[in-house]
């Protein structure tokens, strides 16, 4: 059983501060949905409103079509996994997992059996009698997931649960969380500030800034077609140019900057002051001679080896710093520091975007 979560024009004010500003999103049953944004963007407030610890000051939250107004956390079909997990240190693992069942008055033998089943599901068989303090970080993570799953929630809410783990474990747990979500079919609402996490795990991502939802889409779309400058620069790296935009034609426009004239994609109605041109470093290519368009003469200033790619910094003759990322597969020559080259990009890989969503959007 899983249910969708509908946020209908949800607002949340703390005094005069608006933490969540008119958020509309329809999370489908069985979907893995992530809210991605920097700290203070309101994503945790959204999660706490869905779980019932905070009431929205405006709008409505519906779970499985049912309005949740006035429902306490213990009455909602949700289970929250806390950032610090909040396992009960004085109970053994199996009692932690079956606490939600104990609350529902299920007898001990049944609770124990269910706890063992869930321990198998999260691949921790036989750990039932251990104390929480005897577990490693990754194991605690699994116990927290099992404890939340035990109450058979229709929606699972996860508040940056991977942030306390080291890199290797974090990556392993990503795949595992995803697998558990597919196995159980429960709707997952995941909160993170780590774009890699959000992109790798989610069916859809909602990027947030200053209480507003900037873009909701699938991970590829978020990365390849950001709707505004905030999404583009929060998710991944960019070379950013600003200048005067010409009248668009066929979805393209030219931007005159102090470093030259560049052509890029542009959406309808994009104009005004905050408008800038964004190009991902992996789309910046070096050539020996100047290209037909979008090309600028540069001098290589730094070459950093990152493992799977090489990060190359270059300064244009007009003084602009550019970053390019080259794959470490031998397909392109790696330039030397001090070399004079031309740096360019395909107009279809660059986009002219507005700054970020404006009020009421």
């Amino acid at each position: 059983m899983s249910a969708g979560v509908e946020l209908d024009d949800v607002c949340c004010d703390f005094g005069t501060f608006r933490a969540v500003d008119h958020v509309n999103v329809n999370i489908q049953p069985g979907e893995f949905f992530s809210f991605l944004g920097p700290s203070g963007c309101g994503k945790t407030t959204i999660l706490r409103m869905i779980s019932g610890f905070i009431e929205p000051t405006g709008g409505a939250i519906r779970i499985g079509g049912k309005d949740m107004r006035g429902q306490r956390p213990n009455q909602r079909p949700t289970a929250l996994i806390f950032q610090n997990l909040a396992l009960f240190p004085l109970m053994p693992v199996w009692e932690n997992i079956s606490f939600g069942l104990e609350v529902r008055g299920i007898d001990k033998a049944k609770r124990r059996a269910r706890a063992e089943e869930l321990l198998d599901l999260v691949e921790l068989p036989g750990a039932g009698d251990k104390m929480v303090s005897q577990l490693s970080g990754g194991q605690k993570q699994r116990v927290a997931i099992a404890r939340a799953l035990a109450v058979e929630p229709q929606v699972m809410l996860l508040d940056e649960p991977l942030s306390a783990l080291d890199l290797k474990l974090r990556q392993a747990m990503r795949a595992e969380l995803r697998a558990i979500q597919k196995r159980t079919g429960v709707t997952f609402v995941f909160i993170t500030h780590d774009q890699g996490e959000a992109l790798a795990m989610s069916d859809r991502v909602g990027v947030m800034s200053q209480g507003r939802l900037q873009q909701v889409s699938n991970p590829r779309d978020i990365y390849n077609n950001p709707v505004n400058g905030f999404v583009a620069s929060f998710v991944g790296e960019n070379n950013i140019l600003s200048g005067q935009v010409s009248t668009p034609a066929d979805g393209f426009a030219a931007m005159s900057t102090s470093h030259g004239r560049f052509r890029a994609r542009i959406a309808d109605g994009v104009s005004g002051t905050g408008v800038k041109l964004y190009v991902r470093p992996e789309h910046m290519k070096f050539t020996d001679t100047a290209g037909v368009e979008n090309s600028v003469p540069v001098t290589i200033s730094d070459v950093a080896f990152e493992g799977n790619f090489i990060s190359v910094q270059a300064i244009s003759d007009s003084g602009m710093h550019f970053i390019s990322e080259l794959r470490n597969d031998g397909s392109v020559p790696i330039p030397e520091v001090g070399t004079k080259l031309h740096l360019g990009f395909d107009a279809s890989k660059a986009a002219i975007l507005p700054d970020s969503a404006t009020a009421g959007a």
């Binding site: 019932g52 610890f53 949700t78 929250l80 806390f82 610090n84 909040a86 939600g100 529902r104 109450v151």
Partner: protein
Amino acid sequence: MHELLKRYGTGLTTIFVLLTAFWLLILLILPNLTMFESSFRPYLPVVDVGGPKDVYSLGNYMNIFGGEVPLSIFGFEVLVSARVKIFILTVFYSVVVTVVAFALAYPLAYYLAKVVSPRSLPTLFLLLFVPLWVSEVLRSFAWYIILTLKGPLNGLLMQIGVIEREIRWIEGYSPVVVTLVYTYVLFMLFPLYNAMQSLDSNQIEAAEDLGSPWWRTHWRVILPHAKPGIASGAVMVFMLSAGSLLVPAIIGSTSGNWFTQTIQGVMLEEQNWNGGAAFAFLLLIVCTLMVVIAMRLFSVKLSDIAK
């Protein structure tokens, strides 16, 4: 010790250690040892002290028996000596004081530790501390005034029509229990507050999120976490209550004697220090045993309390 030496140097450290040793040995251990030794010796005229009659015996301790009076324990009438009766009632009502103090302090500690906004905390703590600025004697007398037959409590109750005639509050053990609770409730409150404050609020939220009603969250999450605090609070309130002389002396009625008053009587009125010492040690030993048994029952370790 090493830390102390490094921070304060040899001179100051020596003074600290010597002062502490003086306080412990000369003011605490030595007098108690003397009392303990004399508690086994008979009360004799001065000429006989050190003579052939001055031999060790349990006589002083056995003095608690003798002179049977009825005592009803859970509905059963038993005959015990008057002193044993007072002894049992003292221990019993000290337990009552401890339980009542816990019942009052637990919700207040929870409120202070987890509910109230940290900004108003200093004011609330100040309000709790203010009564401590007044001496215990005055506070006991205040309760005496409140509870007297023509006192403000009866006046108020009659004014609002709850009672028709004055109630004699100062009778039996209830005024002693009330005043002892009032005097020692903070010794329960502060350890409880400390213990609850160290509980991660997310755990309370996690329990609620898993569907737990508030009382089960208290029973399964908050109370177990606060157990060391409860234990140290209970030990303090119980020991202080059982050993209190001032409160029962001021507010106790003739039907509500405390065992400490018996000890005082033997020591000061009979001038029998040996006998008084024996009774004092009886009280100390029994109370300590009760604490040890209670700690076993609730599986609390001494190291938990020391936190």
